[in-house]
């Protein structure tokens, strides 16, 4: 039997540190959950009774130890680092998309300045605070962006865009670092 090894989405491009900002790939499972038509209440009840979590509202991130359950789009929530219970699959379409995304953590004091160069979102702390998750663009890529800490964000794009993500972030990080250099 051939042994298969999982490879990381970004391959050797990460981790990366430029100026005061670091990017690291996150190896985590990822599931998308979409309630079947008319089954939202049952799905939310299962999430609540089995995992002790409220269904995440729009832009909301729920933490469960090291795992996250977050709003993903108008129809989906996402489980990151946690597996949805089998019971949930009775009321919702549960899809394992762990190998479909490139997930990175970007952190450092200037992280908001870097993100401001790649997304049209308002990334100032007053509009994008800890525990908030949004869908928007990172350059031309569809992305999920979540604020995990004062200077820490998690960014998710399609796996096929991993190298592009690293490329675009590198340019933004170099530009921010260049502007911050004391002359």
């Amino acid at each position: 039997m051939v042994e298969l090894y999982a490879t990381s989405a970004s391959e050797a491009a990460l981790p990366l540190k430029i100026g005061g900002v670091s990017v690291a790939e996150v190896a985590t499972s990822l599931f998308l959950v979409a309630p079947f038509k008319g089954k939202f209440t049952q799905a939310a009840t299962v999430l609540n009774t089995q995992m002790g979590l409220e269904w995440p509202a729009v832009h909301e991130l729920k933490r469960m130890g090291g795992a996250y359950v977050l709003w993903f789009d108008h129809a989906h929530i996402a489980f990151m680092g946690a597996e949805p219970s089998v019971e949930l699959a009775r009321y919702a379409a549960v899809t394992d998309v762990s190998d479909a995304c490139c997930i990175i953590d970007i952190s450092g004091v200037s992280v908001r300045n870097v993100l401001a160069r790649v997304t049209p979102l308002d990334v100032r702390a007053k509009s994008f605070n800890i525990g908030m998750t949004q869908r928007s663009m990172v350059m031309h890529m569809q992305a999920s962006i979540t604020c995990l800490g004062k200077s820490k964000f998690r960014v998710m794009v399609f796996r096929s865009m991993a190298r592009t993500l690293v490329h675009d972030l590198t340019i933004a990080m170099e530009s921010v670092a260049a502007r911050e250099k004391k002359v």
């Binding site: 049209p120 928007s136 663009m137």
Partner: protein, 87 residues
């Protein structure tokens, strides 16, 4: 131009994909006459003023939106989820 997505809030036009007049949501009865279907598929008004379009929040929450706007002033007047409309 910005569109106020009912889920995501005020977002840049680049995040949305335009998909024609909202009359696409008013699908005729399957047994309707050929004239009714022809009208539904091909004929559109070209108003100077108020109109309703379908936009897809492609780079955001993926929801289909009905955007009410003024073709003369370019003002976006109202936005709602298309989900609630009859399909």
């Amino acid at each position: 131009m910005r569109i106020e997505c009912p889920l995501c809030g005020s977002r840049d036009r680049r995040e949305f994909y335009y998909s024609g007049h909202a009359s696409a949501l008013e699908r005729p009865d399957p047994d309707s006459s050929a004239e009714v279907w022809d009208d539904y598929l091909h004929n559109r008004d070209n108003p100077a003023g108020l109109t309703e379009d379908l936009w897809h929040h492609e780079m955001g929450c993926s929801a289909w939106l009905v955007v009410q706007r003024d073709t003369v002033s370019h003002a976006v007047l109202a936005v709602r989820l298309a989900k609630g409309d009859q399909l």
